[in-house]
Symmetry: D2
Subunit: 343 residues, 4 copies
């Protein structure tokens, strides 16, 4: 089969012929219909210091957002059969650690990662343990199904934040931020502030349901948000930019008693004012790492099927798998939002 492979510790991927993966006793072999490019794939593509720290296996096939059709199942697979339409969760929990045995598999201490510690979906086929495969409804288009994974993270923040009737600020309008805006809108947020330095992304944010667009490079975000919230500040912040200064800053326009959900890849040290930012405001800060399987999947499906969540504006580009370089260059340049590949 054809696949994208990370062969060397340097920029770029190779498009090459590889063996169709073997199917273990509990594995499901999936013919990939649609695969999405995620921020971590961009890291692997450009090969930066973050990769040096975590990649301990080469070569590997990247890619972890996908939908596809089951073409073969391992002998002990119970949940799936051929022709099932499915989507895949990225995190493969160990099943043994404290968190796995306490209902928190999404923060497993020994997580394996689809598209990283085992081969991913930038290929014609992928083989995945059934534990992290999920059936999708017949009516759900393949393209939407491929994006259930990235929708799930911001959905958790919005759902926990109980945003209905409240105000929300979303920092960073990449795909995760856009989904945060879309789900906030679907779940009744009355004011939705979309923050990004890219005007292109702000235009998409408008389509996703943002009621106010703010460009921190041009505007005084704190002052504007405080004015538009009667000097109370926003009730919920969803950080999806990875920018530690933007996150620190956001506490100044957070309402007393407000909640901050941190999703972004905050690489720089985060500096907070303990008294003013945390204690006096009685804030709640929640880190969100991944999805709840499969609650967030099912909620995202329902929102998409009901029409309350529309994600077409986020999907800016589509390419055949072999033209992946175009997609990665667009995504890296900030000219694209979500890029889909079709094997």
């Amino acid at each position: 089969m054809k696949a994208i492979v990370k062969n060397r510790k340097e920029e770029g991927f190779d498009y090459q012929e590889v063996e169709i993966p073997e199917v273990g006793l509990k594995d499901v072999l999936i013919r990939v219909k649609v695969a999405g490019i995620c921020g971590s794939d961009l890291n692997f593509y450009e090969w930066n210091s973050w990769c040096e720290g975590i990649v301990n296996r080469l070569p590997f096939i990247p890619g972890h957002e996908c939908s596809g059709e089951v073409v073969k199942v391992g002998r002990q697979v119970k949940l799936f059969r051929e022709k099932d339409r499915v989507s895949v969760e990225t995190h493969l929990p160990c099943g043994k650690c404290f968190q796995c045995r306490n209902g928190q598999p999404n923060i497993c201490q020994n997580m394996e990662l689809f598209g990283h510690t085992f081969n991913g979906c930038f290929a014609e086929y992928c083989s995945v343990p059934e534990a992290i495969v999920e059936k999708i409804p017949d009516e759900l288009p393949w393209e939407y199904a491929a994006l259930l994974e990235p929708i799930g993270i911001p959905l958790r923040g919005v759902w926990e934040g109980q945003v209905g009737g409240d105000s929300v600020a979303v920092i960073g309008c990449g795909p995760i931020g856009q989904f945060a805006i879309g789900v906030s809108s679907a779940m009744g947020a009355s004011q939705i502030f979309g923050l990004d330095v890219s005007e292109k992304r702000l235009t998409i944010a408008r389509k996703m349901g943002a009621t106010h667009l703010l460009n921190p490079a041009k505007e005084s975000v704190i002052e504007i948000i405080m004015d538009l919230t009667h000097q109370n500040g926003v009730g919920v912040i969803i950080e999806a930019s990875g920018d530690s200064k933007a996150l620190s800053n956001s506490f100044k326009y957070l309402r007393k008693g407000g909640k901050v959900f941190v999703i972004g890849n905050i690489k720089e040290p985060l500096v907070l004012d303990g008294i003013a930012d945390i204690v006096n405001k009685e804030v709640t800060i929640r880190g969100l790492h991944g999805r709840e399987f499969f609650k967030t999947w099912w909620l995202a499906e329902s929102l998409l099927l009901s029409g309350k969540l529309k994600i077409d504006p986020v999907i800016t580009h589509k390419f055949p798998l072999k033209e992946f370089n175009k997609g990665f260059q667009l995504a890296t340049s900030g000219k694209a939002c979500k890029v889909l590949l079709f094997p």
Copy 2:
């Protein structure tokens, strides 16, 4: 001033001239702009056995859903001044009991009731303690402002139920049920089942956002809901009919782990199957009595102002105050949904 008065323990109200109420030290005198007819007003109008049990004061001016303009404030009033646009909460907590001193004034043990234990809003003016008066935004129409009170109760259930992406069944499509449907839709419920025996009300439910209309007099509700939820049942039930059998019945189409919010005036004994309905299903049943002041007010305002909650379909009739008899007869007959009076 002109007012509607309950003078005698018999059917009907009188429309008569009374004194403009005095304004106590902490009271606000309000010129009533719009008043809504609630189910408890219907009880007072027809004078039934429920009234015999609880009314211990005659005459009184009924009515507790209203909006209006402040025309005078008591000498110790701090929050309001003349010309303020306001809405009124019905429950006046004592401030002394365990619940009042523990952040739960809405379940005060010694509640006074606007339009019942002290004079209400079916009049040109009403005088209300500032503790239960709330300012409303300039942009909010008087008619919507008069309905913040009844919207608040179902809003609590929908908000606590975290319905975004989930399925909801609303039992009874009177005004409370209609608002439950509208708020569920605004907060992202993907399936909303509206149940009522009145086709007229089901038609309104459709406009409010119900995705499925069910008439228990004609259809097998349990079977239909189970089919449409893949035999899992609904995640959230909001009971707004007061019918104890409909409520008992609803546990059969409730999902395992689901939540039931009880708002309706359940006069008949409620009979449940302890094992099947409660224990084995691990249900949560929550009684909701009134609003949270003023959290639910503010959330309802935001939803209305954002356009995500539209309540026009619920307001079926409007009359000048002196034509109140038309309104009460329509409301009692089931031909109307929410009736507004204009003093």
Copy 3:
């Protein structure tokens, strides 16, 4: 091996020689050290109408509360090896239904039951899928380990009820009620009312930490509890008697805003006053069916090891397995609380 077997649809069990069970690919063979008699075992013993309704397989080995040592593991078992000290969860979820795929395996729609739909622990050995086996700390005595299962259910109610500093009423002082009292005491409940008609059980309740003992057959429970709670009522009720009238009654001494956890096997219809019991009081009623695996196991272990939960008073009798008849007769007669069997 020797085992207790339910062979016929009539009263009693047989003590007989049976084959040591086979060990499936994912099964763990356990040499049973201690087994506890539960209320459902009593039902099987006496063979009543409840059994007629649910038992569809004979013969079977009953018993589901146990601790023991692993003596053999199936070829695909990952979590255990020989000599591991373990305890067993009763509920074997299907892994396929909505609840299983949404983090709620304890309310699986297709639950298999250890000691009922597959053979249990009233035997020298039992074979159990590793999914419901849990390792126990070295320091935890076998007898305590055998009771982690029944402790887990009331522990959930007490934990969710956040009883620290609050008042709790426990209806029914059988083993489940006693554990509810013990855990409430360990978690800081300041007033703990133990209710039972058996003076013997009330004596044990005192040892478990009940601060007030009430015999509903002799005393006016509502009046006493209201007096001792300054007429506010108790904050949390844990129903462990299965008596529907006792449960209905308890709403009269529940505080406004209070919580009721229902664990008992409520066979008779439960009749509630919708307005007074549920709506006006804004109560929360929660059914609890089983444990959370393995969160409640681990919490119970910690409480036992820390010495904050002491359960010796609940264990009133111990017999060798072959003398099971003595145990069942004592348990049925109400003369015993928890009876342990030693294969």
Copy 4:
């Protein structure tokens, strides 16, 4: 009457004769029985840069932790009368802001502070608005009643943290930390790590219920806690030291999915690792500013009256009011824990 007064922007207080305070319409005049010295009083005593920033009124009577007897009530006071035994909340909310009108008066935007923006309790009498006065049970000793205020803050963290059966680390064993340990123990925490550089305070922590004492100046805290929690880390951290580095550090021994409650006066910038500390661990960080009136008061009373919370070890010194200098010097030196003054 005699009172301690802060007259000048320099170190020290004066002990002098002042007028007995006037009693406003809604005020309660209290004869102070016992007053506690808090960390903010120490700041006022030594007059540091923090004081420069916030004190805008001189002279004033400091002190805000007290119990006493009502000797006079204002004409509009409803809740109290002469001879009532009472305790006082420090935060006087405005009643007008968003938070006050939404059930969160403890994070009022315009808080007045007893013993700071209006005169406090280091005096024979103090006059306090009835809104922040709370009756105390007859059986509760005056000394305990004076400490309900400082107990309330850590109690919130422990209560929200649902520590029963779980492990807790308390950073800083000053009075707030000691109360955190005591309440954790009363509410069933199975492992309680007390951290402080003062051996004297660690000795008190042992008496309050800490199961493990750690001196960060001498021991490798992270390694020890990880070892004692089977490499999982603690479930709950309560920061009561004000040391930003100790707080940053604590994320390394926090369990994945754990909770951090921040109470301490974190004056230095707090530096966190966004990915490792927050996102990947899915932590929850909660700032706690003050108490919930009067829920935490009532819970603290119940715990003290039940005997489950014992605070005598924390009260290390008692002085007549006029010997306040001794108390302040001991408290500043770290030789004392909680110091009580008797007017």
